[in-house]
């Protein structure tokens, strides 16, 4: 079907045959772009998008309804994005929650406090808070967590305090982006800010894409840009669907037919001193690494596809990470928007705050601030329920595996950035395949430690690593 479409595209343009593409670049076909600007074209696009989305997600109908409104009323896009975000935050999960009214109340309380923080920073940009609002927000939230988890005041033991904190924690990076955006280039309208607080196209802890200033710059300005952006969205969702189908076959083949255990199982066996044979451990680790790449691609592509359907031409979250030839490049390509978050809130504040007299030291400190400290901070405050259940000190102690992971990662990125790069050797094998394989091998081994579930101490992860190399 894809090749037929590709041939059709070439025929439509009446030019030379195009190179084969699994999913053709439909946004470059003039007739398709013209059709996508008409009412039947937009309706067809929405129906196909909804059908593909429904294959893997039960919330396709409300999503397509929101996208249809945004498509047909582009002059109200900002307001409609905000309304859709409220619908997806409060109404869509209504039947799945045990206390939907309470949940809605907490969300409105969080948004109200976010509004006060944003207004304060905008109204008094010269004040101590107004000059560094995101830093104050992050430090303030940290102090708040320390207070409610360590100070033995009864009021902090109340469940609503923790519930509020957990929901605020899920919004914190979105609020931080709005603060940074308005600090750099304040705008008079306030329509998109609410919509960008956990937007309806995908509400993870990492904002996809980063901030309202970015959204304003990448939104479609006319009908043709909207059509091109939506076609790119459909194409990306097609990729997500293909990868999703492929990963199901993959899982059935390797874990079902060949019975290679999941990484969690081989790690558990190793931790219980009953390690699987070394080749099984290698197989499960390599599968774990590749499955993480596929899962990241499916998730990121799906969210950015929805964002594009809403008229915002955002960059992909993941772009060919396995072809990276340096450690730093892989980090950049693997989870783009998370890396952007670390760079915005940790790397640049540290980098610009240091003297340029020692450039290498300056770069190394900034990389550690982002890839190590920022990485740990992000993941630590993401799981507030663990702190609530086991206390702050236990939560810190049991985070040793992920801390180790970030130290190794930051060291590798620093070395990758600081060492003098020789030109890559010519030829596909030595110039591309070997360096890409080395980088993937490093990240594959590192994935042993990229765990935030605190199940086993660091020594057990090291034991598994040693087992791979016959060291125990």
């Amino acid at each position: 079907m894809s090749s037929q479409t590709s041939v059709l595209g070439a025929a439509v343009r009446g030019t030379r045959a195009l190179p084969f593409r699994l999913i053709p670049r439909i946004e470059t076909y003039p007739q398709v772009v013209s059709f996508a600007q008409t009412l039947p074209g937009q309706a067809s696009l929405l129906v196909v998008f909804g059908a593909l989305y429904a294959l893997t997600n039960p919330e396709a109908l409300p999503l397509v309804l929101c996208l249809a409104l945004i498509t047909w009323m582009p002059f109200k896009r900002h307001q409609l994005v905000s309304v859709s975000t409220v619908v997806f935050a409060v109404l869509v999960p209504w039947t799945q929650l045990s206390q939907p009214v309470y949940n809605a109340f907490l969300i409105f309380a969080v948004v109200a406090i976010a509004g006060v923080l944003i207004w304060s920073a905008t109204a008094r940009p010269w004040s101590w808070y107004g000059r560094r609002p995101a830093t104050v927000l992050l430090v303030g939230f940290t102090v708040w967590i320390v207070a409610i988890s360590t100070i033995p005041w009864n009021v902090f033991r109340l469940a609503p305090i923790w519930d509020f904190t957990i929901i605020f924690g899920s919004y914190i990076w979105f609020v931080a982006y709005v603060l940074v955006d308005r600090q750099a280039a304040p705008v008079t309208q306030f329509g998109l800010e609410i919509g960008s607080l956990r937007p309806f196209w995908g509400a993870l802890y990492t904002p996809f894409p980063n901030g309202t200033a970015y959204l304003r710059r990448i939104e479609a300005k006319n009908a043709e840009e909207l059509a091109v952006t939506q076609l790119k969205g459909l194409k990306l969702l097609s990729w997500a669907t293909l990868i999703s189908l492929f990963s199901r076959v993959w899982v059935n083949c390797f874990h079902g037919y060949l019975r290679i255990p999941y990484f969690a199982t081989t790690l558990s066996m190793s931790a219980h001193h009953a390690a699987a044979p070394w080749f099984v451990c290698w197989a499960s680790l390599i599968l774990h690494f590749l499955e993480n790449v596929m899962a990241g691609a499916i998730l990121g592509h799906r969210i950015i596809a929805c964002c594009r359907m809403a008229g915002f031409d955002a960059l992909r979250n993941m772009y060919r990470p396995l072809s990276s030839v340096t450690v730093a490049e892989f980090f950049n390509r693997y989870y783009f928007y998370y890396k952007e978050l670390l760079v915005t809130f940790f790397f640049f504040p540290v980098f610009l705050g240091q003297s340029p007299r020692f450039p290498k030291l300056r770069l190394a400190i900034s990389i550690f601030a982002a890839a190590c400290f920022g990485n740990v901070f992000f993941h630590f405050i993401r799981n507030l329920l663990y702190i609530h259940d086991f206390g702050l000190w236990t939560a810190l102690k049991t985070f040793q595996v992920f801390f180790f992971y970030t130290v190794v990662l930051a060291t590798a990125i620093t070395v990758s950035r600081l060492r003098k790069r020789k030109p890559l050797p010519a030829g596909f094998f030595r110039g591309t395949l070997c360096p890409a394989f080395s980088v993937c091998f490093f990240y594959c081994l590192l994935s042993i430690f990229a765990e935030t579930n605190r199940q086993y101490p660091l020594v057990e992860h090291l034991r598994f690593l040693g087992h791979l190399f016959f060291l125990n």
Partner: protein, 84 residues
């Protein structure tokens, strides 16, 4: 060479080094267009500091200020001492 010319020349060299020889004008979005990434912005800042002897203020800094030749030029002008 004026500051804009120096910036244009540097960005062209940086893009070629990344294997991107495509042309760009003073308003072409290089970051938002995906042609440069955050690693490149570090290189651009180091270039600006060395070339124009400026220190970019961290308060209020956004990488979108490094998106186009014109926005970089505006950042350089804003970061220069008033007497310059």
């Amino acid at each position: 060479m004026d500051s804009k010319g120096a910036i244009r020349k540097y960005l062209a060299a940086l893009l070629v080094q990344k294997g991107d020889p495509r042309a760009f004008d003073d308003d072409t979005p290089l970051l938002l267009g995906g042609r440069l990434d955050s690693i490149d912005t570090v290189e651009i800042i180091l270039f600006l500091e060395n070339e124009f002897h400026i220190q970019i203020a961290k308060d209020g800094f956004q990488r979108t200020q490094l998106d186009t030749v014109n926005s970089i030029d505006a950042l350089v002008r804003a970061s220069r001492p008033a007497a310059d």
